[in-house]
């Protein structure tokens, strides 16, 4: 079995393994989950290795067996795929560590492994049928993660999340089918192979296909106004669930744009890029404004994701090398930064069982280390130069500034300015301000060694990417080179 196949079959088997281990008790399942996620992370690094070594030039392909219906089992990895899988495996490992003290059944651990499997599949599949299958399959574990292990309003949030994203992806499916049918109409060949479909002249159907794809991917990103599932799902999911959701699953939408929508319909992409830039620009400001109005810490971070993903999209739709590379890097960055923030809010919730801004206060005294890490992540999220967030945002803005629609760079800059206006007051109110009435700060102890370890790794990455992004860009940049207009 090739490495690429192993990238998605291994975690799937790992999920079964965790379930089986669950028969010997909850802690056995937990240990099993840790073991397999470590192995998986190692595997993902092994996958990433050639891309780092050759500065992203290498492409690993499993030239697949043709199956029925024009579908073939076709996997391929380039720098972007490998990096996103590494991010998945990395956050997966941290999620297991972060959930260490939860008293949960084996299903919890299995769900995370299954999620990793589906995500890896999405990032590897080069056959649109398999792409869609993996795409949808990610919903199932996340549905259970939110619905079973989430907080009070989890049931509603889980169903809403599933239905909302399904609504988008079924349109995407119809668009994919339309593309395949159109290709068949021209060539008489049924194929779902993305590479074979590239360059097809879709004619009058092209805008519709593109619209379907953009809506499907856009719900996932999410673009404003298709975003309203996100605050609910992120808020109600357990900490680790929010991390995977924000850290990796949102990236699927952007990845889909880069991998499928843009290459498939280059003409429409160019024609529509300014409108997508408008949507992205609005998203950065709108997400920030909404975040400013929140009183729930987790919800606030959820809205901040909308704003940040707006930057990514701005970069991508600029269709410039710097914008695309920056957008790709920002995908990784957002996974790390928002991952850290969600972990921290999760730790806070674990201790105080509350998430409101006014439920805490004065934590800097009670939990200085906690406060340090939170501040670090907040500044990374704000886009402080020297940390990772700035690199991505700056490159995205540079990209859009030299694109057809430079005006949205101004909008993006407004978004950058607003970022501080929602995160810092929240940070101050939780960590600096004295405790108010009904505060649960008394229950908040400082981070223990395990939690510190999780955050040290994340913060070290933030700093690393912030100061030396070039190495990372070298891995990512060849993947997007073909999209540059």
């Amino acid at each position: 079995m090739s490495l690429l196949t192993a990238m998605w079959t291994f975690p799937l088997a790992a999920a079964a393994f965790c379930l089986a281990a669950g028969r010997f008790g909850r802690s056995t399942a937990r240990a099993a989950a840790l073991a397999v996620s470590i192995v998986y992370f190692a595997l993902s690094l092994w996958l990433l290795r050639p891309f780092v070594a050759s500065a992203g030039q290498a492409v690993l392909v499993v030239s697949g067996r043709p199956l029925a219906f024009g579908v073939s089992y076709l996997l391929s990895a380039d720098g972007l795929s490998a990096a996103l899988i590494a991010l998945t495996a990395f956050l997966n490992l941290l999620c297991v560590l972060a959930s260490w003290k939860l008293d949960v059944s084996a299903g919890y651990w299995a769900a995370f492994q299954a999620l990793a499997a589906a995500l890896a599949g999405v990032f590897l599949a080069r056959d649109l049928f398999f792409f869609y299958v993996f795409w949808e399959a990610t919903l199932i574990p996340m549905f259970f993660i939110v619905g079973i292990w989430g907080s009070d309003n989890r049931r509603h949030a889980a169903v809403k999340f599933f239905l909302f994203t399904f609504a988008g992806s079924i349109l995407m499916l119809l668009a994919l089918i339309a593309a395949v049918v159109a290709h068949h109409g021209l060539t008489g060949v049924w194929t779902w192979d993305l590479k074979a479909l590239l360059g097809t002249e879709f004619g009058a159907a092209a805008p519709w296909i593109f619209l379907g794809l953009v809506v499907g991917f856009g719900v996932k990103i999410p673009i404003v106004p298709l975003h309203t599932w996100l605050p609910d799902a992120h808020t109600e999911a357990p900490a680790a669930g929010s991390v995977m959701l924000a850290g990796v699953m949102l990236k699927m939408g952007l990845y889909g744009l880069i991998r499928v929508a843009f290459p498939l319909l280059p003409g429409i992409t160019v024609a529509w890029a300014p409108y997508m830039a408008l949507v992205a620009g609005v998203g950065t400001v709108y997400g920030a404004l909404c975040a400013m109005a929140q009183t729930d810490l987790k919800r606030l971070i959820a809205y901040s994701s909308i704003a940040h993903l707006g930057f990514c999209l701005l970069g991508l739709v600029s269709l410039t090398a710097v914008g695309l590379a920056g957008g790709s890097l920002q995908m990784i960055n957002h996974g790390i930064t928002t991952g850290a923030l969600f972990f921290l809010v999760g730790f806070l919730y674990e201790r105080g069982h509350k998430r409101g801004l006014s439920d805490f206060g004065g934590l800097v005294k009670r939990a200085p280390v906690f406060s340090f890490f939170f501040g670090f992540a907040v500044f990374a999220s704000i886009g402080l130069p020297g940390l990772n967030g700035f690199v991505g945002e700056f490159m995205c803005l540079s990209g859009i500034a030299i694109s057809q629609a430079p005006i949205y760079a101004v909008v993006g800059c407004v978004g950058v300015t607003l970022a501080a206006a929602y995160l810092l007051p929240a940070y101050q109110s939780v960590f600096w301000a004295p405790e108010g009435p009904g505060s649960v700060s008394d229950h908040v102890d400082d981070l223990d060694a395990r939690e510190k370890g999780i955050l040290w790794t994340l913060c070290a990455l933030m700093l690393w990417i912030g100061l030396a992004p070039h190495a990372w860009l070298q891995v990512l940049e060849p993947s997007i080179r073909g999209l540059v207009k």
Binding site: K160, L163, F164, P225, T228, Y286, L289, C290, A291, M292, A293, Q294, Y303, T320, A321, V322, L324, A325, G326, G362, V364, F379, L384, P385, G386, F390, V391, F394, M395, L397, S398, A401, I402, P406, A409, V410, C413, V414, V416, T417, A420, A421, Y422, L424, P425, Q428, F431, W432, A433, P434, A468, P469, H470, L473, E477, R481, V484
Partner: protein, 642 residues
Amino acid sequence: MTAAQIPMTAWLLFIAPVTAILIGFFVLRPLKPEWTHWPILISCAIVTLCAFSLTARVYSGRGSFDVNFWRWAAAGDWAIDFGLRIDGPGTAVLSMVALVGSLIHVYAAGYMEGDPGFSRFFLVFHLFFLAMIGLLTANNYVQLYLFWEMVGVASYLLIGFWLHKESARKAALKAFLTNRVGDFGFLLALLLILVNFHVAHFHLLYVVIGSQLAHGQIPSSLPLIGLLLIWAACAKSAQFPLYFWLPDAMEGPTPTSALMHAATMVTAGVFLLIRSWPLIAAVPYLPHLIAGIGAFTAVFAALLAATKRDLKRILAYSTVSHLGLMMLALGMGDITLAIFHLIVHGFFKAALFLCAGNIGHAVHKPTVDVDEVGGWAKALPATYVVFWICALSLAGIWPMAGFYSKDAIIDFAREGGGWIAWAAPLISFGSAFYIFRMLLLTFHGDRPEQNRLQKHPHEAGPMMVVPIAFLAVGAALVGWIAPALSRLVATGWIGLPVGLAGMTGVLNLPGNVSLPALSVRDMFSLGGGMAALGAASAYYLTMIDAGFDWRWRKAKPGTDAAFDADLGWKTLVAAFASGVAAFARVTGRVFDKGVWDGLIESGAEAFYDVSDGLATFAQGRLNDALWWMAAGALLILGMAIR
């Protein structure tokens, strides 16, 4: 010139602080927090020595360079390299920052002793120091922006250092957000520069723009870039209309106010404009705009400083005013003069702040009102003397350093003509007035209206006296470096060895930038006269008509309130901020949650309503079912034989 040829002293500027911070954070903070300052003080010493060594090399004409050594990010044909630029303006300011900064570090070790946040203070303080060094040695806009933001964060953390105080938290937020608004301009300018010129390096930009100017064209984007950079500088250097964060920033510990919000950080805006001078000078009227902003701010802030009572607040407005003077000098095209005043101001203002710190320390309060003190000359003799020297320097009285820098600006402005010529003497008069008012109210006399603190003030220990004594010496004497400074600044700009992408060799700055030599000035001038007049007025209103300050406040509460609100500007800004917040609330809660999400959720609900509606058709009656079947069959029949 290549990266390998960069002298060790330049590297040490970074290595020393980074090492000190790492040791402090990872080793001392957990184990021995009260020792955190030791590695940091050592680092200060190293940095100061290196800074002076570099300055000497640049002065000698051999040491300036501009070299890239680190590819930060690149994609396609877009690339940003980081490097070091050691040149005249940079090293001139750097030496001052290093020296004044180090002295304040020493002072802080005394001032902050026993504070529970001692270790945190020093780490952030030194982080700021590092950022400032980076800012002054950056060779391109992106790098400058990086350190520019870093000083902003350090400033945020230090203004809010006493977290338990609501005013401190608010001030920190205000400072950061205001600077963020300024950074909006910086970021946009940066993007515009990259879009239009494809480089962010100062020197390459100078060359590109210079060659375009040589052909008689002004790049069309240049005015906008210049405006945005000025906007950014207005936020960082606290110029109207974005000055209002600086007085509030005095909520931080006094060493912070001295180092960051008086001597160094706030001058970053001026420094940015110095770095951008070849861009700005190329556009007609932009220098005039800068001069206008500077002159207006200087007069405006001097007026406000005269009405404030909190010691640190008076000094803060004075800082705003003096930054306005630097802008004025710059706007008139004299870079050297701007740098000269920047340096002089760094000395006397840092010393004045630390004096205010000593006064507060004497009564264990972070800030003190002029209401609460009076006649303390005897209790705090050292502070008193230092204050006198620095006050004279600030007021621009011969032979203090302030005389040379400030008077030169005033005279220069007089020569320029226009309304600025009329504003200049006012500044002189105003600054002498407020500083002597402060001096006299604090150290002299005994006024019945004063709400004197019932404590016995005492002089601080040597850690807090020696540094200010050094600073006072500087405030008195640095005026005489003027000729040397002229040469230093000019040396660094012309004949610069560069090692940049696509360009190596020795370069001269393109023309159009005048670097007039500073001359030793006469002791009698209009500025000096006005300053003497201001000091005399202050003497009259505080010593002879002793209760004046209290009387007019009581008599005209409306005017007092207007001054308190900075003549309405603060009210306007607050209204803007709350407007944005209200808009956000409407967007986030009413629209997003209520209207839009509500609409979507009710879309889902609609399915359930339709479900109920359809269910009413299914009553379970057999005849109905058969009727529907007959109708359905007919329908299908109808479709088939259209």
